[in-house]
Symmetry: C2
Subunit: 143 residues, 2 copies
Amino acid sequence: MQEKNSIELIEYELTTFIRRAVYLDNSENKIGNLERSAYLLLRQLDEFGPARVKELAEAFKLDISTLSRQAASLENKKLISRSSDPSDGRVSLFDITPGGKQMLQTDKQMRLERYHSMLKEWSNEEKELFGKLLMRLNDAFID
Amino acid sequence: MQEKNSIELIEYELTTFIRRAVYLDNSENKIGNLERSAYLLLRQLDEFGPARVKELAEAFKLDISTLSRQAASLENKKLISRSSDPSDGRVSLFDITPGGKQMLQTDKQMRLERYHSMLKEWSNEEKELFGKLLMRLNDAFID
DNA sequence: ACTTTTACTTGTACTATACAACTATATATA
DNA sequence: TATATATAGTTGTATAGTACAAGTAAAAGT
């Protein structure tokens, strides 16, 4: 019973969180300059280095066509650069540009500040534990 | 420093969680019959009773036009019903129908089962604490 | 009675996504 | 080696979800 209630609470709060977080991304309180998808793509390239469309699609579990467009759009904005793989003419490799890195850092900083202020009442222990639990939750997602 | 790292981890894991959860909602592993938005709208009516478009829009912090369409769509599927407010001819009141309640319960059950299986290694204490921390996070979202 | 405000609906546009058709290149095989 | 098949990516088309702006109808204010 009690366990059932915890799960219900978690389900409820997580769906609510998604609603609010996605709302914030579209609202006038929107953080930074990057769309959510652009932020994630830049972060991926920044953390894991150059990648091609297929790798990106797999990392995000999205369709290749979706990533092809997202990458093309960021390339257009000079936030990422395209180079061809000399060993395979079909492949484009994308990498984050200095401008992209800077934009990412700016946006990330703003996002961190928001969390910082939302969680300012939390103890260090609570923040650490929450982070760890979230990590475990995300790991459990990988089917 | 260490605190900074917790926040960074939380930000990273939460954005990752959104990516994966939203992906799952679109994938072939999609749970249930209801779109995310429909699930939330039904849940809102189920928990808080009949409401009009404006109230729903405020509850979700979305534009009235968005909720107007979502409600019209669920009305079409007979999952919610529209009645007019006798004291104000402009207002439509929406309420969940028995069919809507049933659909909601079915979907909710499936969602809960998924969380149940994802969190099966967690102790009761961890689940309870996680739920509480999520609640606090969501409360902090209300600007 | 007339004006303004409110509640909602509808038209239009944009982002994010998937799937299908297509192009170009690489790999396998007869 | 020539042809067939597979792979990587792009582009066309469609849908959900959203916002903003214009329009309609009812209510409230003056």
